[in-house]
């Protein structure tokens, strides 16, 4: 099995902890991310997928749990140097290319901010060269370095955001809905770019999105979140072919696909969390139903699902 790059163990993030309005945005989730893979994280707005990404990169301090990067806890970095090192190897691409670039900075300074902070360039010429190279990598050209963000279109800005993330040679990138704000034709450009960068630089991605067809296309494995919990995790192919958790089934049955024939025959499945009828004291946890296919379920449901998938094999 591939090397684990990141292990998330029982991660919790509660807003307004111990107050009346406590929100369990991320509620005890665990998963691993392997080196070189793209893990997709999907769910509806408010399910905690962005919060998960932001907690992993330590934009929020976790309420409980661990985020181990190559075996070391990101949230317990011993000193400043270590924190800086984590910050260099993990980068983030944000959803809104209009809000995530400082309008008063030139593109060259936006991209080079990380380079300066980490002291990656020895001279200002080297710094400029690095920025030019990055701009070309993401499909812009070097003349763009001297301009301001408002002079660019949405797709171009997202490319600048990607160049900024790449500037410090990260190994792991969290992409939080990087294409949701873009037009269809531009989405494909950005997705192809991300895939190319991953191939060439061996990057690992956590790809957060709600557009399920794009997630399936870009991800190796997909995790489905519902109300702060991870309810299902498996390879993208398996998830679409053989969803096990009723919420996943409902979610998949709601996605419209650009195919009229398919749409005419689509049956929507509704999900009601009360249908589980969990008994008092039943332990809910991620259980491996078939190899690599994890579902949040009770022991009883687990046995049922196991029996069912064994039947299907026969």
């Amino acid at each position: 099995m591939a090397e684990k790059l990141l292990e998330i163990k029982n991660l919790k993030l509660y807003f307004n902890k111990d107050k009346k309005n406590e929100v369990k945005a991320v509620d005890d989730i665990s998963f691993d991310i392997y080196k070189g893979e793209t893990l997709g994280l999907v769910g509806e707005s408010g399910c905690g997928k962005s919060t998960t990404g932001r907690t992993i990169i330590r934009l929020y301090d976790a309420t409980a749990g661990e985020v181990l990067y190559k075996g070391e806890d990101v949230h317990k970095a011993k000193n400043k140097a270590k924190t800086l090192e984590f910050n260099r190897t993990m980068q983030m691409i944000f959803q809104d290319p209009y809000a995530s670039l400082n309008p008063r900075m030139k593109v060259i300074d936006i991209i080079a901010e990380g380079i300066d902070l980490h002291g990656l360039a020895k001279s200002s010429k080297e710094r400029t060269d690095m920025v030019h190279k990055l701009l070309e990598t993401v499909g812009l050209n070097r003349d763009h370095a001297g301009r301001y963000p408002h002079e660019f279109s949405g797709g171009q800005r997202q490319r600048i955001g990607i160049a900024r993330a790449l500037a410090v040679n990260p190994e792991f990138i969290i992409a939080d809905e990087p294409i949701s704000a873009l037009d269809v034709s531009i989405q494909a450009q950005v997705v192809n770019l991300l895939k190319k960068l991953q191939r060439e630089n061996g990057l690992t991605f956590l790809f957060i999105a709600h557009d399920l067809s794009m997630v399936k296309y870009i991800s190796d494995r997909i995790g489905v979140m519902y109300f702060g919990r991870l309810v299902e995790l498996t390879t993208s192919e398996e998830l679409y072919k053989n969803p096990l958790h009723p919420y996943t089934k409902s979610l998949l049955s709601s996605i419209p696909f650009p195919d009229p024939d398919y749409e005419r025959s689509r049956k929507r499945i509704a999900y009601n969390p009360h249908d589980h009828n969990y008994a008092e004291g039943e332990e809910l946890k991620m259980r491996e139903v078939t190899p690599g296919h994890f579902v949040l379920c009770s022991e009883k449901e687990f046995q049922e699902m196991k029996a069912q998938s064994a039947n299907e094999v026969l």
Binding site: E44, S45, S153, G155, Q156, D183, V184, S185, I186, Q187, A188, Q189, V191, N192, K195, H210, L212, S213, M214, K216, Y217, Y240, S250, L251, S253, S254, I255, P256, F257, P258, D259, P260, D261, Y262, E263, R266, R268, Y271
Partner: protein, 351 residues
């Protein structure tokens, strides 16, 4: 089928500091009774401007519907009605659902009153009658506990519920035409599916015609009977939903369809439309898509292609359909679709 709305040679410009932006450049289409026509295109392609023109919601100060534009509805040309005349039609015969349910309701008014408002204004209902009808409408759009919730304010509802309320307002007077401008873009997929089902059911019940604007081709495949594809202020292809999805002719439609992964897209690279949409301040000479079009020919840079007829219901504006044009191979994803829906491709010439 008879046409309920006909748009002919619609031209709209915006006057900006930088100059005249020709946002709509000769749009023709018709809406048939009881059908759903989807208009798709990228941001800036003119889909919203077209429908706002039908509703006459464009700001007078900086926009202009050009002389000769026709929006024919019920024997009247809406393009040149006065505000007073238009007020009698807007919200009664033609109504609109907006993209953002968070901002299209009045936050200081109880929802029941907002639904009753058009009824009192257009149908001369009494207050009591209007509120009864509002309650009926809330039941129709499937809002839970309507008796209690009719007296609540918009902020007390979720996004999906608000969109149901907006739909109730729009349907209050049983409009002949309903314009839905990205009604589900701001919603989650499971809620989106509910709203789309609701709209389809209501359409059957009250027999209205819908113009559905969206950039999501999945939604189009779900709701549309016919599809018009817009690019750079023009309609570049129009046809039935099957014709557009299984036998597209315009290279821009090819690009749109193949740049989205479908259910069975494997690991191949996504087809990409290079570059970005045209600048309508200085629209390029010839076909505005030519610079992004890998199938462009010399003539595309010189002359705007006319509409070519593909079938009785299917038209596309591309020189590739000209009898003298060379045969080209569409992208792989499009070929895959064409195999699903075999049609004899026999261009019938210019229209």
């Amino acid at each position: 089928m008879n046409n309920i709305l006909t748009v002919k040679d619609l031209n709209i410009s915006f006057n900006t500091y930088a100059g005249e932006v020709k946002a709509i450049r000769g749009v023709d289409f018709e809406l048939k009774k009881g059908e759903t026509l989807a208009i798709v295109g990228e941001s800036g392609s003119g889909k919203s401007v077209t429908t706002k023109a039908i509703m006459r919601l464009l700001p007078k100060s900086n926009s202009e519907i050009k002389e000769g534009s026709e929006i024919l509805f019920d024997g009247k040309n809406l393009a040149h009605l006065t505000d007073k005349q238009m007020e009698k039609i807007r919200g009664k015969d033609i109504s609109m659902i907006f993209q953002d349910p968070m901002t299209s309701l009045n936050p200081t008014m109880k929802i029941g009153k907002q639904i009753a408002e058009p009824l009192i204004k257009h149908q001369k209902f009494s207050k009591k009658q209007a509120m009864d009808r509002a309650l009926e409408l809330l039941k129709l759009v499937g809002l839970p506990q309507p008796e209690r919730r009719i007296n609540q304010y918009p902020h007390q509802f979720s996004g999906g519920q608000r969109q149901r309320i907006v739909i109730a307002v729009a349907l209050a007077c049983n409009p002949k035409v309903l314009i839905a401008d990205e009604p589900t873009t701001a919603l989650d997929v499971t809620i989106q599916a509910q709203i789309l089902d609701l709209m389809k059911n209501l359409q059957k019940k009250i027999d209205t015609s819908i113009i559905f604007i969206t950039h999501d081709l999945g939604v189009v495949a779900n709701v549309a009977d016919r599809v018009a594809v817009m690019y750079g202020g023009r309609i570049v292809e129009v046809g039935t939903v099957d014709e557009i999805f299984y036998n597209p002719q315009h290279p821009y439609t090819w690009g749109l369809i193949s740049s989205m992964p479908s259910i069975d897209t494997e690991d191949e690279e996504l087809f990409v439309i290079p570059g970005s949409p045209p600048d309508l301040l200085n629209p390029p000479k010839g076909d505005s898509f030519a610079v992004r079009n890998r199938y462009a020919m010399a003539i595309d840079l010189e002359e705007q292609p006319p509409m070519f007829k593909v079938s009785d219901t299917h038209y596309a504006a591309t020189w590739l359909l000209h009898p003298d044009a060379p045969k080209v191979e569409p992208p792989a994803a499009v070929l895959k679709r064409q195999r699903k829906f075999p049609v004899t491709n026999d261009p019938k010439g210019e229209v």
